[in-house]
Amino acid sequence: MAAGCSHPGGPATGKGLSAEEAAFQKHLQEEFLDAKPGTVIEIPAGHHALDRVLTLRANGVTIRGEGTEQSVLSFKNEISGPEGILVYGNDFVIENLSIEDTKGDGLKINDGENITIRGVRVAWTGGPKTTNGAYGIYPVKSRNILIENSSSWGAADAGIYVGQSVNVIVRNCHAEQNVAGIEIENTINADVHDNLATGNTGGILVFNMPNLSQPGHSTRVFHNKVLKNNLANFAARGAAVASVPAGAGVVVNSNSKVEIFDNDIADNQTANLIISAYFSTNYYNKPGIDPNYDPYPRAIYVYDNRFSGGGDAPDGLDLKTLKLAMFGLNGHFPDILWDGYRDEKNLINGVPPADERICIRNGSVSVLNADGPHKYKSPSTDMAAYQCELPKLSPVELPARG
């Protein structure tokens, strides 16, 4: 309803929408309501203020703007949401537009199949803030997902976050000023390549969380640039990524079958690569965690990356103290930091089974086993344990799409 039609006590617009903006929103909402397979919803050029989530519940719909600079949907004055665009549908394409300043997630896609996100920019324009929405681009419990040429700025959890999904490609994307730049969580078969993650707290994360619908495995992280992810962690305490230290390049937590190769990983001041177990997150407790949850990283294969810089200013008292004790004031951690947690019940002659090891074939790169299980008492840089190979994972293949 136009602002001019409001009257005391009667229907009124929310804070801040002009009559034109309210009319635009109404028209756009109607397009979302009426969408059916084959519908293309065009977002014209312009900066469009909206105050309510756009929800889509049809299959086979395309949402198309005229470019990330041209077609901008702004949710700065959102009163009902909390997402910007919320999609429950298969065969979905969204491209060439921006979503700004949502109260919650920017773009959330729940339970979809064949999802294409191309040229979408999600941003919180006030820069990194704890009060920003959690996720920028957020497909969850979905299958066959392509995210390309997209970007996220300022997410208070993860910029590009794929959760509990199967068959995923994230490529040619840009993540900056988020707590986590790109995060693959509880997901099976993901290829993350040719992305730039810089200026986040952590660059690229591959995590498994407890109590969810599926444990993830089989993620390949390759040919990315993961640079200078040294932003102070601004996630709310308790959020999944709140435990990530600032200065983390690539982080593998509790996940398995992760292959990290051919990346440029540089100047991440805690460590360029961190491999850790759920115990290092501080959230572990017996009653609250599914007893079948596997908290250990297994079958992690790191090879042929180009590491440089970093490790010189770790975040958090424990790591600062450890660095000082082992490498001195002007020294730095090795490129790879492992918290040292391993499944003691599963060792054969003191080492994990061949197909569950951390294997590193990366020239002269070294690893610090921080000995987290013993409160960092006996850290080690002995490389012998990582001299192994793992079978390489297959590329992710997505069904042909339009």
């Binding site: 959690a134 996720y135 308790g238 599914d290």
Partner: protein, 384 residues
Amino acid sequence: MKRAFRAPCLVRAAGALVLLAALGGCARAPQPVHYFAEGRPAHLSDWQVVFRDRGRLALNARVVPYDLTTPLFSDYAHKLRTLYLPPGSSARYDATQTFDFPVGTIITKTFYYPRGSDAATSVSRTYDQSRDFAGEGLDLSRVRLIETRLLVRRAHGWEALPYVWNAQQTDAELARTGDEVALELLADDGSREAFTYVVPNENQCAGCHVTDLKTKAIAPIGPKARHLNRDYAYAAGTQNQLEHLAKLGYLTGLPAPAEVPRNANWRDSAAPLEARARAYLDVNCGHCHNPKGPADTTGLTFDVATPVDRHLGLCKPPVAAGRGTGDHLFDIVPGHPDDSILPFRLASREPGVMMPEQGRATVHREGLELIREWIAALPGECGV
């Protein structure tokens, strides 16, 4: 006893609605409920289920009012719920799921407030409904109607249609894209709270009423055995609602009373705290937070069948809460409501933090207090 009713005194002239009630009577014969098998009628009055009749919102013949043992909180709105089934048809009883209603069923829910005592613009924040009614309808000199939502059972499934009442309170108009109404709540103690009442759009209706993400089908939430198993003061006298529906022929297969589940009334201080809290969480959260619902991404369930363990949030780390954690580590810390995420999110009115995500713009003080009391009384510890 057959209930007397009045037909709506509406005629259309040159496309405009004209209310004849003020002219002192209705010359036309009562019209039955009009079920539209398809399409979206522009006016609530087109359906003839509930309608303005002189000074009241009246119910047509065959339209049965009902209440829930514990209702969803909606910004302190009062609700008049009605059920209509086509002649000769009936719904089939189910112990846990929404009853299987026949094609042609129309469920309405009218959201309204008692008018504030001081001015035309404020509405009352009260649980007292005793002054709302005129017979089985609503007394419009005492209440202000905001919206009436319809759930219509069509051949292909349920559809949701939101109607917003006009300022004159003569009819409600279809509002597919929702609406926003500026209101001010006036409490008994004189305190005031201004807020924007948000009428959901059709897709947001589905945000609650799609309780199974696989079928993606819209379904009523309230008409389940455990929610309906209570008394209602009908015009003909007070009776258990399920027995009343069975007697009318609206419901088949109703078992003996002892076998019918019943949620507690969350406001009944004589009921066990646990039962009151679980009833509250079931109806306010369980439509999304159930093993098949849209919030199954979180590993957190609040439907009445959830065991009292991590599935209900005990010591469970959040998954995708963002700043909704309020800096707390776990959804529920037994004995410690101040350290628990759940009451933090119930206490917020900020999108992105608050739960439920939609359907409210105010904090439900009394509901929040109940959940805090329940958490404070929960035994055990997380042992971090």
